[in-house]
């Protein structure tokens, strides 16, 4: 059995192609079932996110054309001509496929390294596939190791430690100012997409009172409806603003709508309680001089982007550590896999020894006839004990040879015991191991 991964991602394909091959959550089960029905596909799952679509499949060695069937599946399902798809397609085989899957789930292959969503998306693909029965022992074992390694990467390295999106940076800064956001009031000035996203993040973190103001009241009402908030008349902006702890502003005003004197008035009314301005408008809505006022913190879009970029750079510094960890985990997976593969050889060895023991007991059966039942039981136990003792070194040798991927040693042990198993079969029983470490 061999493992194959075929797909496109943000590194190999433009967004125009990626959006054509994306599979919605609702269609994932049906697509996976269709894939599993292909000849030679024994196990499979499909990972589909906004940045990648990957088919993960265990293929039957006896069906050499199955590999081409995967590519054909993509072409047919998405109606894309080969010359359009193939230049952007990548394939990973066996050992490389295992490593790729480990890296994807650990977010080392993501557009934003360390982003946490990908692990959930891989888990979701796995759950869907398992539910419809396209996951067998091979992928089950592989994916469990993948999830465990991804978790380890998140806990033992800092690749996911700092926020790298504008909205999450804003939340992080708000938390540095206010601690908890529970009970905090957020005023959204200008009902744009970006401000809605930032507000959504703040609400998720506990901000529970949302005020919305916009020159067009209908838009303000629509956004206030999303957050169960209250609409503030644009004319009453300066009267209502002091009650807000956080102000997200993104209007199209050509000049600053919040100036230094407004900041001073707000602070006076708030008895110097801090305020956080998230200014995502271009041109800016908040006069930069307001940041000089004690208790007022102003971050414009460039400031937020600079923090996000710095965090991303920090994450990149931690990727080496994460890559090493993944390499170790991949090696450990292969070791465990080979230990599983050597199990039939060990069973055969034990069976062989048991046969020999039974033959010997049969041979001297007549001479043991005079023994009492207790004495017979003692002979039985003695012979069993001896066999176990004799088997211990070769069994250890088999396990060690499998762990070391040492085909010659494995074959020597098997030959010594007259076993006819193919050492390559043991080591490369599934090509997931690749046999070339």
């Amino acid at each position: 059995m061999t493992l194959r991964i075929v797909g496109v991602n943000h590194k190999t394909a433009p967004i125009e192609l990626r959006e054509r091959v994306a599979i919605s959550r609702d269609a994932l089960g049906e697509a996976t079932s269709t894939l599993a029905a292909l000849s030679g596909v024994t196990e499979c799952m499909i990972v589909s996110t906004c940045n990648r679509v990957e088919i993960v499949a265990a293929l039957d060695d006896a069906a050499p054309l199955a590999e081409h069937a995967l590519i054909a599946f993509m072409q047919q399902r998405f109606g894309i001509a080969p010359e359009e798809l193939l230049p952007h397609l990548y394939e990973h085989h066996d050992h490389e496929a295992v490593r790729h899957l480990f890296r994807v789930a650990a977010s080392l292959d993501s557009m934003v390294v360390g982003e946490p969503q990908i692990l959930g998306q891989v888990k979701e693909a796995f759950t869907v596939a398992r539910k419809i029965g396209t996951i067998g022992g091979q992928l089950e074992h592989l994916l469990q190791s993948v999830f465990s390694a991804a978790k380890k990467v998140r806990t033992e390295t800092e690749i996911g430690s700092n926020s790298v999106s504008i909205a999450s940076v804003a939340v992080e800064l708000a938390r540095k100012i206010f601690g908890t956001l529970t009970g905090k009031t957020v005023l959204i000035v200008g009902a744009g997409k970006m401000s809605e996203l930032a507000a959504r993040h703040l609400v998720q973190q506990g901000a529970d009172k949302i005020l919305v103001t916009n020159r067009t009241r209908e838009r303000a009402e629509r956004m206030a409806g999303h957050f169960n908030g209250r609409v503030v008349e644009f004319a009453a902006l300066y009267d209502e603003a002091p009650q807000a702890d956080i102000i997200i502003t993104s209007t199209g005003a050509p000049t600053h709508i919040f100036r230094r004197e407004h900041g001073q008035a707000f602070l006076h009314k708030r008895r110097n309680k801090p305020m956080f301005f998230i200014d995502i408008a271009v041109p800016r809505d908040v006069e930069p001089a307001m940041n000089k006022l004690e208790g007022l913190f102003v971050y414009d879009i460039d400031d937020l982007q600079a923090v996000a970029a710095a965090h991303l750079a920090e994450r990149q510094q931690h990727t080496d550590h994460a890559e090493q960890l993944i390499a170790r985990e991949v090696a450990r997976f292969h070791e465990r896999q080979r230990a599983v593969n050597v199990a039939p050889a060990i069973v055969a060895l034990q069976q062989r020894a048991e046969d020999l023991r039974q033959q010997e007991l049969k041979r001297i059966h007549a001479r043991l006839a005079s023994l009492t039942p207790d004495q017979l039981a003692a002979v039985e136990a003695l012979s069993r004990g001896l066999v176990n003792k004799f088997l211990h070194p070769p069994m250890q040798a088999l396990k060690q040879a499998a762990r070391d991927n040492d085909g010659m040693r494995l074959e020597t042990v098997l030959n010594e015991w007259g076993l006819e198993l193919d050492s390559n079969e043991v080591l490369d029983n599934t090509d997931i191991n690749g046999g070339q470490e």
């Binding site: 100012i177 206010f178 004690e294 400031d303 982007q305």
Partner: protein, 277 residues
């Protein structure tokens, strides 16, 4: 009799001063409703005591430190009550009532002063005095540290990272949020203040027992009361003007400096030589 009236007034001033703290600092109206009438009744007793003292002595000019202190206390209480009546503001109580209490305290002990019944009792009060002041100093120390960290965190949050620019000079990820630091600083002050007040009151009692009314002229004692005054000012401003952040941190630093000066004053104190010996 004047001494009895004065002692009643002292106790009532003490109660009113204690009630004034939560009333002003936390805006608890229940305590304000208790403090004002109590202070007024104390003022009446105090007035009676002063009038009786002076009429008995057939003079209208105070003589000696104790009488002067008592009349000064009466004036402070009177001005506070007048302000409260005219302007309806209670905030001054946080200064006026404790100050009146301290001013009345020594005269209320009588001409001969107060003597402890035994050395054991005196030692007990001494231990409480030391413990209360150490607790106050520790709380103030924590408040100053929290204020310093507040300044650091605030500076970091005001610092703007430029694309490709270097990070801030100090790693500050470990710092708690500004609001947490502010609350720690404030809570520590609120814990430290009653401790310091109690410590100074007990210290005054111990000092007048040993030295008499002259203890109030000692630089160490004066510095202690100045420190207490700055402490009260800090709490008052925090509460009434919403003082927080940088300016609150500087004022906490001033209280801390005053505390260090009080400690240093041991060297020149005749009453309180601890630490210099």
């Amino acid at each position: 009799m004047y001494l009895i009236w004065l002692r009643v007034a002292m106790v009532l001033y003490g109660l009113a001063a204690c009630a004034a703290l939560p009333a002003v600092l936390y805006g608890v109206d229940r305590w304000r409703r208790f403090a004002v009438p109590t202070a007024f009744v104390a003022f009446i007793f105090h007035l009676v005591s002063v009038v009786e003292t002076l009429t008995t002595a057939h003079r209208w000019v105070p003589v000696g430190v104790r009488e002067t202190e008592s009349i000064m206390g009466l004036l402070v209480a009177g001005v506070f009550l007048a302000i409260w009546r005219l302007y309806g503001t209670f905030s001054f109580s946080i200064f006026a009532l404790p100050a009146t209490f301290f001013l009345v305290f020594a005269p209320a002990l009588g001409v001969d002063g107060y003597a402890f019944p035994s050395q054991g009792v005196k030692r007990g009060w001494l231990i409480v005095h030391i413990a209360a002041l150490i607790a106050a100093f520790v709380a103030l120390g924590f408040s100053v540290i929290a204020s310093g960290l507040y300044l650091l965190q605030e500076k970091y949050l005001k610092f703007k990272l430029k694309p490709g620019g270097t990070k801030w000079w100090l790693p500050v990820d470990w710092l708690p949020p500004l609001d947490t630091l502010e609350r720690i600083a404030h809570t520590m002050l609120m814990i430290g203040f009653p401790c310091m007040t109690a410590g100074l009151m007990i210290g005054s009692l111990l000092a007048q027992e040993s030295v008499g009314p002259a203890y109030f002229l000692d630089p160490k004692v004066v510095a202690s009361f100045v420190m207490w005054g700055v402490f009260v000012l800090l709490l008052f401003l925090r509460r009434s003007a919403g003082l927080r952040g940088r300016r609150a941190a500087y004022l906490s630093g001033a209280v801390f400096l005053a505390m260090v000066l009080v400690w240093a004053a041991n060297v020149i104190s005749r009453v309180h030589g601890f630490g210099a010996k």
